[in-house]
Assembly symmetry: C2
Homo-oligomer: 465 residues x 2
């Protein structure tokens, strides 16, 4: 990319009757050069803030004409580098396209723009008795467009699944500026290849999403939270499998191992955690349309937990009690990030393999002299693993951090899993993709990319190795 390409684009972008907001100053661009895990030292040419599909189309037409790479961006709360620009690129910030266009109670769908905050969508539909289930950890910051682009997961996927099944349709702008509509306000179809589902999880490499039709569910109004300590990871996983086998499907089954507890408590003296010494704790949330059914689920959980090694779980009834049981879990990531440099993995395995995966992480970290902290979604077999630099010298860290991830991902795949459960590949996991996918699969993905974006201008160098 030569910077003059972007200049040509910028010279034309302001020439219409409606000006698109543009930032080109270093200070204006700086906040758009990073996400929560990756920071680029190369400046982008500009950040553009379109307000409509038409403006997105205009930008992409010019980008195609002048061959300028473009990265679409929501809130920048990702952790794989998917929304980080390269040198001379255009950042296409969708933060001005943040409207909730419709909440349709009759058909139980919402139509939203990509820059809408996921938590605000949840509130807007709840006001009408409806429910958008996915809750990424960053739900109050992240945008729905980013969720769709990464197929974001989160805290309620055991019962409700991740973002993917809630995306019924999209409006998207192709690399050349053409606008397409995929799917719609209907619940199923067998009408050609499912372009909607192909764009979900494509991390801005296939098209720029400008509108999303979301499927909504009836709102479960009742909710209870339990915290159950276990003497071992095996016992905890045994409880997860037993709960599901007994036909209780809680939205949330979160693994909080002792290492994560210690990390939070060391930095947050205000947070109290009832089971600081247990090997691992399971945070369980059950919900339902009425109190009796939720209470019945809780009553049925007790003997299962006892049988599996946790005879005295805590049960929270009130919102403030629930908040207390959740507070430690919600502080884990921040407390780890505060420890200094780290690398992060997001593996997913068959859920029965979770103890093996935790141990694989610990073993890989230990081999390279790295402290390892993990936590995650026990019900989905999705573990977030952090390998910390600690006191390692910078030079050793550079090499160790790469080796530890490679080894850990290789073990993930041997356990029947894959390398990203919910964060995406972006630039960070891109070198490791061939561990998870065969050459044949990667070649098919390249072919798909080419069919959508023949000049490789949409978020080039992301996702595909």
């Amino acid at each position: 990319v030569t910077p003059s390409n972007a200049s040509k684009l910028l010279a034309r972008i302001g020439s219409g009757t409606k000006r698109i907001e543009v930032r080109t100053s270093p200070a204006g661009i700086e906040p758009y050069l990073h996400d929560e895990a990756v920071r680029s030292s190369d400046p982008a040419a500009a950040v553009l803030f379109p307000r409509s599909t038409e403006e997105v189309s205009r930008i992409l037409k010019l980008a195609s004409r002048f061959r300028v790479p473009v990265v679409p961006r929501g809130a920048g709360s990702g952790v794989a580098g998917s929304a980080v620009p390269g040198k001379g690129w255009i950042v296409l910030s969708l933060e001005r396209m943040n409207r909730i266009l419709a909440v349709d109670e009759r058909d139980a769908v919402a139509v939203v723009e990509p820059g809408a905050i996921t938590g605000e969508i949840r509130k807007a539909v709840e006001a009408k008795g409806l429910f958008y289930p996915p809750v990424p950890g960053s739900v109050d910051l992240c945008t729905i467009g980013g969720n769709v682009a990464t197929n974001a997961g989160g805290l309620s996927a055991v019962k409700y699944g991740v973002t993917r099944p809630y995306v019924l349709g999209l409006e998207a702008v192709l690399a050349g500026g053409e606008v397409i509509q995929t799917g719609g306000r209907y619940l199923k179809h067998s009408t050609g290849y499912d372009l909607t589902q192909l764009i979900v999880g494509s991390e801005g490499t296939l098209a720029v999403i400008t509108k999303i039709v979301l499927r909504l569910l009836p709102l479960p109004t009742e909710r209870m939270t339990l915290l159950a300590p276990f003497p071992s990871l095996e016992d905890l996983t045994g409880a997860v499998l037993a709960i599901l086998a007994e036909r209780i499907v809680p939205p949330t089954l979160e693994l909080v191992p002792r290492g994560a507890v210690r990390s939070v408590l060391a930095r947050n003296p205000d947070i109290s955690f009832p089971f600081p010494e247990s090997e691992a704790s399971l945070l369980i949330e059950v919900d339902g349309a009425d109190l009796p059914s939720v209470e019945r689920d809780v009553a049925r959980l007790a003997p299962i937990l006892e049988r599996c090694g946790s005879p005295d779980p805590l049960v929270a009834f009130s919102p403030s009690q629930r908040e207390r049981l959740w507070s430690l879990r919600k502080g884990i990531r921040d407390s780890i990030v505060a420890c200094g440099p780290y690398v992060e993995a997001d593996s997913v395995v068959p859920r029965s393999q979770l103890p093996e995966l935790v141990r694989a992480g610990d073993a890989c970290g230990a081999r390279h002299g790295l402290e390892t902290i993990s936590y995650g979604h026990a019900g989905d077999g999705n573990l977030h693993t952090y390998f910390l630099k600690g006191t390692l010298l910078e030079r050793s860290w550079k090499s160790a951090s790469k080796k530890v991830l490679r080894e850990y991902y290789e073990r993930t795949v041997r356990l029947g899993g894959t390398i990203s459960g919910e964060h995406g590949i972006g630039s960070l996991k891109r070198p490791y993709l061939p561990i998870a996918l065969s050459g044949g699969e990667i070649q098919l993905m390249r072919g798909i990319k080419k069919a959508f974006d023949p000049y490789n201008l949409l978020n080039p160098g992301k996702l595909l190795p």
Copy 2:
């Protein structure tokens, strides 16, 4: 295609140590020249019956080398022509690859071969307390491979969705013979473009599926069926929307209009139907993990139904009572097909638009002097509409049957829907695809097809116009 291409393939297919079963006689081939709606008058070159992925790969390598078109085929119970061969093609019958390879209770997954009968998979997993929810109308005949290839829907999609969300992973053979594995025994991922979901619904045009990893749910052991008569379609649809708004999510909400009832009763004097004169009846099934919750749902349904115009629904408790309420619904398609020539539509719309869709079908039929019978899945907005030739002359029928479909599909799309809810496009709906999809979408699909199948040998001329 010249027949000699297929001869070269056949000459080599038998030369290995393990012979693949081949049929080339007209009588042997004849059963493979049609599905439930389309019959080809052109003979295929041969039907091959591989028993393993390796054999499928061997066949596709040769097909690629000699440029022979191949159509993969399950039970042939489709109704869009997707599994019907052209002249000189190879039919790749997967009926010998019908094993249920694993039912894993710990991870709640099954691994099956594509030729396994869907109903048998359901039984095998139920024996272990697990549940594979999709129930296509042909569940006891159809194969899971065909279900995946068409993204089959069926009778339980309101609560459980269609085939798509249950497909966690695939083994598939590409056009050149290369074997790929997509997804796996894990519940979610954000690891590259979702090739699994792209192959779901691709009707044999992208790859030949040789293994399927299915997600299973806990088995709902209790079930009750209701039949509620309504004075109008609007009242019935109002009841559907009200039930869902009140947070009851029944697996089944089937629309049985009077026209369909009359058609069945005219041909089946043994079948009794309690509400033959009501404008439309709603067949409701609720299920759950325990009797109290199912009974509570039924108790909550009664006032909703009364409010919406159906004060006296019938409730079936026992299996034999349930069977009686279902018997008419299950006989509809056969009774219509027995009336002589017809064309069939499979539109899906936002579920609130169902009355409009039924009326659109009636209006389109009437314009061309055709009797119109429709029925379908009221909870999903998916309607099966049959336009009957009746006493029309053959020449008029040819033209009328095409025009009526075109007009009906155009109205479907204007109602916010699309042209196939669950049957697929195949050869039958292919000319109408541009009504539902834009040129841009079709071009993307062609690009995807090319990335998978550069020589256009896998089921060519199906799905894409």
